[in-house]
């Protein structure tokens, strides 16, 4: 194996592992997102933490040595999440009661996202902030999509308890249909994984056209020794 191959190989593997890891880190957050309000609560917290941590990391990029990047990211993200949790307890107490001990789980997701982007500390503060914002927006959208689907299927309503997040939104509950026998599976834990799987499949159908054999063939880097090209997540 020559050095060039190892490089490509490592990059590819790293990329794939990141994908799996991000999906894994997302799981606990998905499980808690059984309504729009809980998904929004977790998503917005993650958005704030990730954006702020990216900004702060890029600001102190000169000071952070390569060997210390990971511990620094973990410390910073953990501290910011704790702060966000305290603020949520102070100003959105009911929401914190509902999300409870799951807020700290944001740390795993955020650390992986900071890591995935090849360390925000190598970018300019503005670029890092925007990256964090975009990354977290995707997270937020995914959570809200899953939360909304589960709430709709499980209770027939949308935006219940939104006042926990927005004090003005007292009567924003949208009863789409009502039933005496709600589809409980959607609200319970397995529902999160089922809904996520179905939404991913739907996304793949809409966004990704199946790659033609020709496209896969041209995808192989010229001169590369790789023969196996596996699917993407």
């Amino acid at each position: 194996m020559n050095p060039d191959d190892t490089d490509i190989d490592r990059n590819e593997r790293r990329h794939k592992n990141q994908g799996y890891l991000q999906l894994l880190a997302l799981c606990p957050l998905l499980l808690i997102s059984n309504s729009v309000v809980s998904a929004l609560g977790l998503g917005l917290t993650a958005l704030t933490v990730l954006t702020l941590s990216n900004l702060l990391l890029s600001l102190c990029r000169v000071q952070v040595l390569p060997a210390l990047q990971l511990p620094t990211v973990i410390l910073l993200v953990a501290a910011l999440t704790r702060c966000a949790e305290l603020l949520m307890q102070a100003w959105a107490f009911e929401l914190h009661q509902a999300l409870g001990m799951f807020v700290p789980l944001i740390v795993a997701s955020c650390v992986l996202h900071s890591d995935a982007e090849g360390f925000a500390s190598k970018r300019s503060p503005l670029a890092a902030t925007i990256t964090g914002l975009l990354d977290a927006s995707h997270l937020l959208m995914a959570l809200v999509a899953v939360g909304a689907t589960r709430e709709l299927l499980g209770t027939g309503a949308l935006f219940a308890d939104l006042h926990q997040l927005l004090p003005v939104a007292t009567n924003w509950k949208l009863q789409v249909f009502s039933t005496d026998t709600p589809f409980l599976l959607a609200i319970l834990t397995p529902g999160a994984l089922l809904v996520t799987g179905l939404l991913l499949a739907l996304k793949n159908v809409i966004v990704q056209k199946p790659a033609s054999p020709a496209a896969i063939a041209t995808d192989v880097v010229a001169g590369s020794k790789r023969v196996r090209v596996t699917g993407q997540i």
Binding site: Q63, T72, L75, L87, Q89, A90, F93, Q97, T181, L184
Partner: protein, 220 residues
Amino acid sequence: MMQPADTSVRTIRHHSLRLGAVAAATALLTTLVYTLTDARIADQQHESERAALAAVLPNTLHDNDLLAAAFTLLPNDPDFAQPQLLGLGSARSGYRALQDGIGSGVILPLETADGYSGTIVLMIGIDADSSITGVRVVQHAETPGLGDKIDITLSPWIRSFNNRSLPNTPAVLWQVKKDGGDFDQFVGATITPRAVVAAVHNALLFFEANRELLLTEAAP
């Protein structure tokens, strides 16, 4: 890779200092936010506890601060007669309500293990006339969609205890309708309401057995 000893020592010191600085900075940040939010969080917690207590014993029935009039009930508390009626598995708080310094009611914690899964923890408010002012489920692990209708957010069933007392509901009627009693069961779930009805009945019996102690003893 070999490094000269002094270089590696310097690297270690360098790294430690940097990491220490980051740790100190994040600790400072967390401390700052904690100090800023501490008082408000305590307020919010008390407010939420008061709201939970007001749900079982209306604020119109007392003029004291219930949180300040809390007392501890132990499992099989020797200070009370027939303590096993509350079914407590661990120490929990009760609250004395006073109106003009006279006992006007009490909030009691109770537990029952006769539900479908796990322990159901409840709070019951009883006024000086021995009538129930409210019952709420504090904690349960009943089947979602079936037994969990004991939760006020899912069904108003738990309100059917309001204004009940031992005189107005004879002992034989403290059962679900299926067993010949006065309380509705749920479709597909009889065990849970049966357990709750029995626990609430027991709480009233406990109140009668300890009436003087619960109502008249001055708050500590």
